[in-house]
Amino acid sequence: MHGETAMLPDTEAGPASRRIIVGYGFWIFLLSDIVMFSAIFATYAVLSRATAGGPGGPELFNQVSVAIETGSLLLSSYACGLMSLAIGAERQAPTYLAAAFTFALGALFLGLELREFAGMIARGATPQRSAFLSAFFTLVGCHGAHVTAGLLWLIIMMAQVATKGFSPIVCRRLLCFSLFWHALDIIWVGIFTVVYLIGIRG
């Protein structure tokens, strides 16, 4: 239900608001991104045992690190949800606070992931070592690249809140950002299950 059009049936309510159209368009983009990830997931699943005599999942993955990454990304998503509420209420201080938590937890996730990558590469488990490792770095690295883009986007959005306030266009961009951030957490659920929890069982 959308404001004053709440009482009208959809066929008489006129065109949907800009916010709803923008949100819908971004939702379509996110679904196309998820379709792209599904192709990378399928590649990983097919190649997950093609280790070519090199190291496999059970030797390489550290479950404690993965658990911390999972927790920090989930809490980051939750903080992003609280940020949406603060934006809806147009309160600047809670918005900045929630954004700071979202950013810090996302950066913690990214830092742990980069440390894991560096550790693997130091042990000779580079992307060119085997098809399994190529698929691993493609899948997890692609998600990490999305998280990096999201962190940059969040900084830009906070600068826009600071300079433009809660104008409708800034609020629509923030809506898109929160959709993006929650979608990244959904993809991470697939990664920690398929790559780490199932992979660690050998």
Partner: protein, 130 residues
């Protein structure tokens, strides 16, 4: 927002009624989602490490837990519901799920078949060779 409401194009208004009614329940929604997601994640990590469960069934159980958690995220974080104002979103999601299922299940099926039907399975098996 209500002050500058009429200074913008008609399409740019934010649904004020929805916003003001939903602030507290919004907090509850996100918190419920967080609690459910934490429970499902903890169950996943426990199931992957325990010896109490029948080992061959664990990957399937993990997949079910992951799909359940994705559903939790969709409903509580992305607010994809079955309400009448959400029909377009749900239809797009359904189409996305169809494509994802076709790509993942189709790839695994075809590659498993390919490996089974190769004349020199040890040399040509993609799942054991680089």
């Amino acid at each position: 927002m209500s002050v500058i409401e009429n200074q913008h194009a008609p399409g740019e208004q934010i649904p004020i009624l929805e916003r003001e009614a939903g602030r507290f329940s919004g907090f509850l929604t996100y918190t419920t989602g967080l609690v459910l997601a934490v429970i499902l994640t903890a169950t996943s990590f426990w199931a992957a490490n325990t010896t109490l469960l029948w080992a061959p069934g664990v990957p399937l159980g993990l997949a079910v837990l992951a799909i359940a958690q994705m559903g939790i995220h969709l409903v509580f974080f992305l607010h994809i519901t079955t309400g009448p104002d959400n029909t377009n979103n749900v239809l797009a999601l359904a189409f996305g799920l169809l494509i994802v299922t076709l790509v993942v299940a189709g790839s695994l099926w075809i590659m498993a078949n390919l490996n089974d039907n190769m004349l020199m399975p040890d040399l040509m098996n993609l799942q054991t060779q680089p």
